[in-house]
Every structure is written in C-alpha cells, then in structure tokens.
Amino acid sequence: MREITFSEALGEAMYEEMSKDPTIFTYGEDIAKQGGIFGAYKSLLGKFPDKVIDTPISEEVIFGSALGAALAGMRPVAEFHFADFLFTGMTAVANQIMKFRYMTGGQAKLHLILRGPDGISKSAAAQHSESIETIFMHVPGIKVIIPSTPYDMKGLFKTALTSDDPVICFEHKMLYGIKGPVPEEEYYIPFGEADIKKDGKDVTIVSTSRMVHESLKAAKNLEKEGIDAEVIDLRTLVPWDREKVLESVKKTHHLVVAHETWKRGGWGAEVASVVQEKDFDYLDAPILRVGAHNVHIPFSAVLQDFVVPDHKDVEKAVKSVVGGV
C-alpha cells in the first residue's frame, strides 16, 4: 500500500469531502497562504481558494462563528492554531458550541469541526505544548477525536466531515510528518471504535496520539523480557470504546493507561475507573497511569523530557503491574 504523511492524510480527507460537499469551508490563522503553521493544509494550497480562509487572531470569533455558520447551513472547519489557544476563545466553545444543541432542546444540527495541533514539540514551552483533550471529554457536548496514524487521521476526519455533531480533533505536532499506509480508495472510521495496534496477552496498554507510538516502542522492548503487551489506541475519547478495553482486560488481567496529558485528572483516570467498576474481578494488579507530571511543559529539553512521559515510563509501569510474569 502507498504511504503518505499524517498531514497529507488530513489534506486528502479535506479535499475529498470538499469536492463532494460545497458547504464545507475552513478557516483560521496562517492556513490559506501558508498551509498551516505545521503544514497540515499544505495539500490544500491553491485548491478551493474561496473556502480556505485566513482570519485575524480572534479566537472567540473563530470558534463562535463556527456555531453561527453551522446554524446558517454551512459545515465549518475552524482551526485553533495551538491547543493552548483554545483557552483564549474557550467561552465560545464551552458556553456556546458545546451547550447549544442541548439548551435548545435538540433544535440544531451542529456540523462543525474545531481542529489543530496539540502536544509537545522541540522546546515550545508552556503556551505552545499542551495536551488538553481531557477537558473536552469531561464537559459534555463535543465529540473528541485524537488520531495517531495517517490512516486513522484520514478515516476519522472524513467521518467528522460528514457528522452532524460538533467534533474537536487533536493532531499531535510530532505526528504531522510521520508516514503510514493509507489506501487509495475512500474509507471512513466510525467514532467510538478503538483499534488494537498490537495484540498481546499479558497486559493491556490503553493510549492515544503520540503515546500510542511510545507504547508500541515499549511493547517491543518488553517482548525481549518475555512480556506480551496489547496496545489499544482509543482513537476517539467521546465516545470511547469501553467494550474493547474491557474485553482486553478480561484477557490480560493487567492495565496501564498512557497519555501525554497530565496524569492528575487526565482521561486515563476515567478509563481506569470504568475498568475497575466493570472488570474488577478480572484484575490481577492495580491499574497504573502514565502521564505528564503536574507542572507546565518547560522549555529546556532536559526539563521537558523529565515532565512528559515516553516509552521508558510505559515500560516501567508495565513491569510494575505485571510483576512476576
């Protein structure tokens, strides 16, 4: 199968759906002439010139206008530039977009997408590095997709572009350049279906985004020590695939949840909690969470590496959970 990058996968999803649906348009900072600050829209450059729009740095209107445009019949895809700047216009997201349909008794179909980069890169420091997906899982009213591969990026985004509910998509900065197999023919990945990225029988590692790759690296290293880890990529957090996680834990009897966002109150705590509620009798050891330390992302590389988890942290947690296996 041909291989394309994560950002090309996003561009293809946009191109294919925009070719079919004239109501789709996209806007944000630095996208029309530059193709996005990380090149996410490079493959859209020169195509649909009226529907790829550069905007002022006005986050509250970038987000809030997506609601208005959806209500008036369009399918907006608004870019948030950096996940950190979701906070800048957060009231339009949390008080308007996420509440509108519910507050109005289901009157509206809110076919809109907020998308953009999140996570660490090379020393971007505290205001350009955050992973805040948990917030959108905690507050009701938006579907959360957080892909880890070009294949998932394209399939999930095409589903988002045909969904009638608000969707937020987190694209990890370190993933835009990675390549992976993506078929030529069109496909859609439904929300709420986790993907088993690697089968295993001794321990389940539940992860998303960049940490899926770290978990796979960990699984490879653990193999050498005789531990056969199963790596599950949730791919979407709202909704999230409880069944697949619960099934896996019934098989492996051990669970580690790994994410880049903060460990304290991170979505891993929700997964752990549901698993102990439903699968308590199958667990042979406490569930462990791997996540960032509860500080901001620091600038210096040595400090960033210390704060944010990688495969070594996953390996350590797995060994601690599995113990004598």
């Binding site: 006005s58 445009a69 959806a70 209500l71 019949g73 907006p76 339009a92 308007q96 009638d164």
Partner: protein, 326 residues
C-alpha cells in the same frame, strides 16, 4: 416617510404583544409560578419591533438574555415561549433552556444567550455562511451596553468589517449592565462612536422611537443586503425594570425610573398615532384585548402542558443520541 395605517398599527400591535407578554411573565414570576431568572424587555419594545419590521423569515438574529421581545417581534410562537418559561415539555427547548436559551431556527432566531456578547461571534458566523452561499439574507446581532465592553464585541466587529459581512450590530443601550451604569463602565458617551475603530458606519438613535429604529435599521439592512457590509447602531433606551424580576434596584433612585416612564416607547408611539389619526380609541382597545387574550391562551397552554419525563434530561446532547454514556 409616509406609512400606511396597517404598517403603523402592526408596529403598535407588536409592541403591545411584547408588553403584555412581559407584564404577564413578571406577574407569574412574582407569584412563584416561573422558575429561574426572568429579564424583562419592558420599555425597550420599540427596538425589536422597529428592527424586525425590516426582516424576512430567512434573515437571522442573535438575541440576548433579555430576549423575549426579539422572539415575539421575529414571529415566535408565544405558546411555546410561555411553556418554556414554565419548564414544560411543549416549550421551545422542551424545558432544557428556559427564558435565556430560547431559540427558533425555523424563523432565524439563533438563540437568546445567557452570556453577555455571546451572540456576536455567532452572528459573524451566520454572516460568513450567508456570504459563502451568495444569499442576500442579513443578520441582526442584538447586544447591550455591557456587551460592548467585552472582547467578543471587538473581535466580531473587526471580523465583520474586514470580510464585509451582512451583519448589523444593534446595540440596545438601556443604561445599565446589571446594576452598573453605562457611564461608569464605558469609555465613550456613545457606543456608536466605537464604529470608527472598525471602519464601519456608526449611528446613535433614540431607541424609544420605533419609527427612528425602523428607518435606521432599514438603511443598514439595505446596505448589508447589497454587499455594503456592517453597521453599528446604538439605540438608546432605558431599562425601566430591574435587571431581573425581583431585583431590589438599590443602585438607582425610584424617582429616576418614574421620570423614564413618561418617555416609554409605547406611550410615545400611541400619542403620535393618535395625532396622525392612525389609531382610534376603539382600535387601541381591540389591540390590547387581543394581546391579553393571546397571552392568557399561552398561559393556559403552558399550565396544561406536561413536564418532561425526568429521563428526557439525557437526550438532545448529540444527533445520534446515546445519552450520558458518551
């Protein structure tokens, strides 16, 4: 300008329907029949009425927490409005929204809004959609004096100006942001003066004069429909009632309010119509009676409607509803 009797009496009728609805909402709230908060539009009826007389069904508005008047003037079903105030299943939002979140997408009302200035970014987005779809619809974004001090106001006006969007920003300057006087919170004497910063026309008018509102909004709507872009209109009025029903209004003397009753928009318009020979005492009575009857009917409808089943609380979050398990 010359106006037909029908046109003028329609304006009058809309103002009366709003006034009667609001007086009833106040009475019901004070009787303990309505939960939540009620923000009354009494004394501001001329603005919604004059503005909306320029709109067609497909035109959009974004409203505010003080939105009953906007809804009625845009053509809302007052039975569904009243039922929503009661929290009943037959209300506009099936009891999930209440007074501050009433919307009716079928008549272009993109929601009242519990957040001050919350509607302005939404209006900008509707404006973008209209332009992209090459339609000639317009949006009127209603907002108060307090909203003009929020960042969303700045972002939305700049945005609509640079893209020349068909969005009319209609400021209802009722002199108070909750308990605070506009003079104490706002850097300019006329909010319309802020238009210069966005390179769009700005005009201050008497918001208690329904004809002035109609004519000013008419010019702005025509400009917007023909691709001329946004206008900022400041309609100066006075919030005769408290911020909400039950507001002790410690921040202003009673006498000041009484003085403003003399200048309230319905009385002004009524005198004018009588002078013009456009409203007889009998016609006036008929209009008021019809409004009372309509509102009494709405109360009856609301009171006889069922409450939603409690588990209905778990619906309407998403289109493919799977309730709270998301």
């Amino acid at each position: 300008m010359e106006y037909s009797k029908d046109f003028l009496q329609n304006l009058y009728t809309t103002m009366i329907r709003i006034r009667v609805f609001e007086k009833k909402a106040e009475e019901l709230f004070l009787q303990g029949k309505l939960p939540g908060f009620i923000h009354l539009y009494i004394g501001e009826e001329a603005i919604a009425t004059g503005a909306m007389a320029n709109l067609k069904n497909d035109d959009y508005i974004t409203s505010t927490h003080r939105g009953h008047g906007h809804m009625i003037a845009k053509g809302a079903d007052i039975n569904k409005m009243m039922a929503e105030l009661y929290g009943k299943e037959t209300g506009y939002c099936k009891g999930k929204g209440g007074s501050m979140h009433i919307a009716d997408l079928s008549i272009g009302v993109l929601g009242a809004n519990g957040e001050v200035a919350g509607g302005l970014p939404i209006a900008a987005g509707a404006g973008m959609a209209i332009k992209l779809q090459k339609k000639d619809d317009v949006v009127i974004a209603f907002f108060g004096d307090g909203a003009s001090n929020r960042g969303a106001f700045h972002e939305a006006l700049n945005w609509c100006s640079i893209y020349k969007l068909p969005v009319i920003f209609l400021n209802e300057n009722n002199q108070f942001a909750s308990t605070e006087r506009v003079q104490e919170t706002t850097s300019v004497a006329n909010i319309a003066d802020r238009a210069i910063g966005y390179n769009i026309p700005g005009v201050s008018i008497d918001g208690n004069d329904v004809i002035a509102v109609y004519e000013t909004v008419k010019a702005a709507v025509e400009r917007a429909r023909s691709g001329g872009g946004s206008t900022l209109i400041e309609a100066k009025t006075y919030r005769i009632k408290g911020h909400f029903v039950g507001d002790p209004t410690l921040y202003r003397p009673k006498q000041e309010v009484e003085e403003h009753w003399a200048n309230e928009p319905i009385g002004l318009f009524e005198n004018r119509l009588k002078e013009m020979g456009m409203l007889s005492e009998e016609e006036k009575k008929e209009i008021w009676n019809a409004a009372h009857k309509e509102v009494e009917g709405a109360v009856k409808f609301a009171e006889s409607s069922p409450y939603p089943a409690p588990e209905e609380a778990l619906t309407d979050l998403f289109v493919d509803d799977a309730g709270y398990d998301y």
